[in-house]
């Protein structure tokens, strides 16, 4: 594995350079130890292909998604306007992100506050790179393995992106299987709507246990996800059933980066 090249936008601009795309890392991708691995996998892909990208670094702040979903519109708009001021100042046009929550917020909720960008999810970028012939995906370690994809709500139902992650996974020569509740009928991992940051209400079961049980019933080698929060929830769910030896929870970016030994 080569060293990561992660240009910072402010430094690029200072050198008079402009990136083609801003990589929005997100809070999870910046701070959560598990999610940082996904972030690095995305960077490995970007570096491998030679995508001209940059990150905001310390100038990036939370998009405010969880605050908005929790009803704190003030905090959301404060976060959004700070980020928009920074990005508009740098003339950002296109954003790629590894987090469907950031994706949805940047794409759908920033325009009303003055932030107009083309926003894509990393699985869409990878799909584009494959289609353009810039990225050649081999099955590698995942050849013939059974992979089930868990749809993130904020990529799937919220924005109707169902095919990009599946098309990317299909390049791995793996056996892509589907849960009964998939695509538009996909069951949430349990993290969305600010649930990640609070205890669940009284019930009979945790949502992530319900979802992990459904995925594990297919005996997959890998549960593929496209969201750092889903990753946390599904990883915990797999641990709940003591299946972490048999079944790995991996982001689509990790599948591609690992298969290609980037």
């Amino acid at each position: 594995m080569s060293t990561l090249k992660v240009p910072i936008l402010s430094e690029m601009i200072a050198r008079g350079e402009t990136p083609d795309v801003l990589f929005w890392v997100g809070c999870s991708g910046s701070f959560d130890d598990r999610a940082k691995k996904i972030t690095k996998a995305i960077v490995r892909i970007l570096n491998h292909v030679g995508v001209n990208f940059a990150i905001l670094g310390v100038e990036e702040g939370c998009t405010g998604d969880s605050a908005k979903r929790a009803g704190n519109e003030f905090l959301f708009q404060m976060q959004a306007m700070q980020n928009i001021t920074v990005m508009n100042g740098y003339g950002v046009k296109k954003i790629v992100t590894g987090c469907p929550h950031c994706f949805n917020t940047l794409k759908n909720e920033y325009p009303a506050l003055g932030g107009h960008y083309e926003v894509i999810h990393h699985t869409q970028l990878v799909q584009d790179l494959i289609n353009e012939g810039k990225l050649n995906v081999q099955g590698g370690a995942f050849k013939g393995k059974k992979i089930v994809f868990h749809d993130p709500c904020y990529l799937g139902r919220a924005n109707d992106v169902y095919e990009a992650p599946r098309e990317v996974i299909s390049k791995l020569d793996a056996e892509l299987v589907e849960m009964k509740r998939s695509r538009a009928k996909g069951l949430c991992c349990g993290a969305g709507g600010a649930q990640m940051f609070k205890e669940a209400e009284k019930g009979t079961k945790e949502v992530n246990t319900e979802r992990a049980e459904e995925a594990l019933a297919l005996n997959p080698d890998v549960i593929a996800v496209g969201c750092p929060f889903c990753n946390t929830m599904m990883t915990d769910g797999v641990k709940h059933f003591n299946k972490e030896e048999q079944t790995k929870v991996l982001d689509v970016a990790e599948l591609i980066a690992n298969a290609n030994e980037l």
């Binding site: 809070c27 969880s66 979903r69 929790a70 519109e73 940051f197 609070k198």
Partner: protein, 436 residues
């Protein structure tokens, strides 16, 4: 002559009563806040054609979709026969359209087959609710009136269809017997099969009695049903159309932007910012009661037919939490009905009754359980959006009451101070770039 007068009085009375109640529902819906509609009307007509007329969202559950389409098509087309009954009733004629001859025979035969479809569909629906006890019909929010409501509708339809068959079969037998004005008209493929043998050779006077009784029960049943609609979940047969026309056409993930908040926040970033809302007429942040919802939310509530697809797809409900998106819609409608009655009894003005939708109907426990995953919105066959109501109530609790689960305070203050929901320093945000 007397029967014509009686019939016309019944017809006028039932249409008048229905109009009166329908206007009340319209008034109640427009208690809601203004809403800026997005998207073209062409797209709206298309959505209505697909979702309401074409029932495209029913297809995800094939058995109920097929049964529902039988009942729906039957209901719509058999109304053409009701038109004939209305004319017959008003002018004391018998089968006034029978002059169409062969085409009339075809129509009556076709309607009988449709009526059989309705009958089968309704019986299957009754069975699913009362014998098979499909889980989504067993939820706590359906106890009492809602369960009764469903059965009243189904049994009324069974009675209506049975009367139709019995009436036709008696008519057919009278035609055979060349009795009085019962001239040869219509073909009766279904009713002859069911009741033909039973009625064969029966005295004409008994047959006339059966035929007339069924005719009156059928038409009075229809008048009664019309007036039951405004009190019932069955109102969906009308409101599904406007409700899908006024569907949200934006990405499901997009929540509304509160302009009143932007007016406070934006001047910090742009001194030249022009306020979008009237500062002299401040509105409550979020939703406490039905008056705070938009008229589309309230139209949603009246449109809901309590099928429970939303609740059966809700991750929180599946895992035993109190939240049920269907209950959110039913509570909204019930509170709105209560507010409407309050307005009626207080001379057209709402008098504070010390109650509100949030608190007296919907609990905070329900509101905070939501994942905002949009499964309920996706599932709804008539494009109702329970999620909007939930998020608006959170807005009220957080921004007006500072009443949120304590754990969220940490997330809020971290985001405010460090720009992340966790307690990490903003300056460490790019540290991962230097980690192996």
């Amino acid at each position: 002559m007397i029967s014509s007068i009686l019939f016309c009085l019944l017809l006028i009375g039932s249409v008048a009563l229905f109009t009166y109640n329908a206007r009340k529902i319209r008034r109640n819906i427009f208690i809601g806040r203004e809403l800026v509609l997005q998207g073209s009307s062409a797209e709206r007509w298309k959505t209505m054609a697909l979702v309401a007329l074409g029932q495209s969202k029913m297809l995800t559950r094939p058995l109920s979709a097929i049964m529902h389409i039988l009942v729906y098509v039957g209901f719509v087309l058999i109304n053409i026969e009701v038109l004939e009954m209305l004319i017959d009733g008003a002018f004391n004629t018998h089968r006034v359209f029978s002059f169409m001859g062969g085409f009339y025979n075809f129509l009556i035969g076709f309607f009988e087959i449709l009526a059989l479809g309705v009958f089968v569909g309704v019986v299957v629906f009754w069975f699913r609710r009362n014998v098979a006890k499909i889980p989504r019909f067993m939820s706590p929010e359906l106890k009492g009136f809602p369960a009764r409501d469903a059965n009243i509708i189904l049994i009324t339809e069974i009675v209506l269809m049975t009367c139709l068959f019995l009436m036709n079969a008696a008519d057919r037998e009278l035609q055979f017997q060349n009795y009085d004005h019962y001239k040869q008209a219509g073909s009766f493929p279904v009713s002859s099969l069911i009741f033909g043998g039973m009625l064969s050779g029966v005295e004409p006077i008994t047959l006339v009695l059966i035929e007339r009784a069924c005719w009156w029960i059928h038409i009075i049943g229809i008048f009664a049903f019309l007036n039951y609609l405004p009190l019932s979940k069955h109102l969906h047969i009308v409101l599904a159309f406007p409700n899908t026309y006024f569907s949200n056409l934006l990405a499901k993930g997009q929540l509304s932007t509160l302009d009143s908040v932007t007016d406070v926040v934006a001047p910090n970033f742009d001194p030249a910012y022009q306020a979008k809302t009237d500062p002299n007429n401040p509105q409550r942040f979020g939703v406490k009661d039905v008056q705070d919802l938009t008229w589309k939310n309230l139209l949603d509530a009246y449109t809901c037919t309590e099928c429970g697809r939303c609740t059966s797809a809700c991750p929180q409900n599946i895992t035993g939490k109190k939240l049920s998106p269907r209950k959110i819609m039913m509570d909204t409608r019930d509170r709105l009905t209560e507010v409407g009655k309050n307005i009626d009894t207080n001379g057209g003005v709402f008098k504070d009754d010390g109650k509100s939708l949030l608190g007296d109907y919907i609990s905070e426990e329900e509101i905070w359980a939501c994942n905002t995953c949009n499964a309920c919105v996706q599932e709804c066959p008539v494009n109702i959006n329970p999620l909007e109501i939930i998020v608006e109530m959170r807005r009220y609790l957080v921004m007006e009451q500072s009443s949120n689960p304590p754990a969220l305070n940490g997330m809020f203050s971290n985001m405010e101070n460090n720009g992340a929901p966790w307690q990490f320093s903003q300056m460490d945000r790019a540290n991962w770039t230097n980690e192996a």
